[in-house]
């Protein structure tokens, strides 16, 4: 019972699955409906309890490409880049 306070979604699903196994195939559809209802109930319970919910952000995600450049790459290229600048003074 104490598990319910953590996240009811997991506990309810486990319980209903056991019923489906013992009652056999004939009542499969009925059980499935029950599982679905239990799931929905669990979802509602999850919203009320301490479960973490994930929402899609309302703003587009912007990824700054510069972040991918690492300092070691800058270190490796600095010498060559310095020469390039010196040899092309008209465009720098």
């Amino acid at each position: 019972m104490s598990r319910l306070t953590h996240c009811p979604l997991l506990t309810v699903h486990t319980g209903t699955a056991t019923i489906a196994g013992s009652k056999g195939r004939k009542r499969g559809a009925d059980v499935r409906r029950r599982v679905l209802a239990a799931g929905m109930l669990a979802g509602a319970a999850a919203a009320l309890s301490g479960c973490i919910s994930v929402k899609a952000p309302d703003k587009p995600i912007v990824i700054e490409l510069n972040i991918n450049i690492k300092q070691e790459v800058v270190y490796r290229l600095a010498g060559d880049a310095s020469q390039t600048i010196d040899k092309n003074k008209d465009i720098f």
Binding site: R76, L77, F92
Partner: protein, 130 residues
Amino acid sequence: MARTTAFSALIAAAVALPLVAAPVAALAQRDPAYAAARAAGQVGEKMDGYLGYVTPPNPALKAVVDDINLKRRAVYSEKAQAQKATVEEYAFTSGCLLIAQTQPGEKYQAPNGTWQTRTSAPPQRDSRCL
């Protein structure tokens, strides 16, 4: 006969040398419009290794600066390939150096994206710059 050939080769070289040297000398200098815009703070060095407009440019200046940025990109691409790096990496590294080389009074882009005027103090640069 051999001496005549050598002599004429020397003459040919002497004639050809200024022809080869002249374009190189011309290339080594900044376009006057670019140099003036740079000194006036109309264009500045961006963090990404390209020139940016601090104030809206007139069409003539825009043509010159856009052309320079295209040439820069071509040079960065070629050199990056030789160094097995990406164009962005090579351009960013160049940007670090170009910002460091700005003269007092010239504009550069700070890590927060704002345009800053270079003073005698070191410029504000990205933490990855050396």
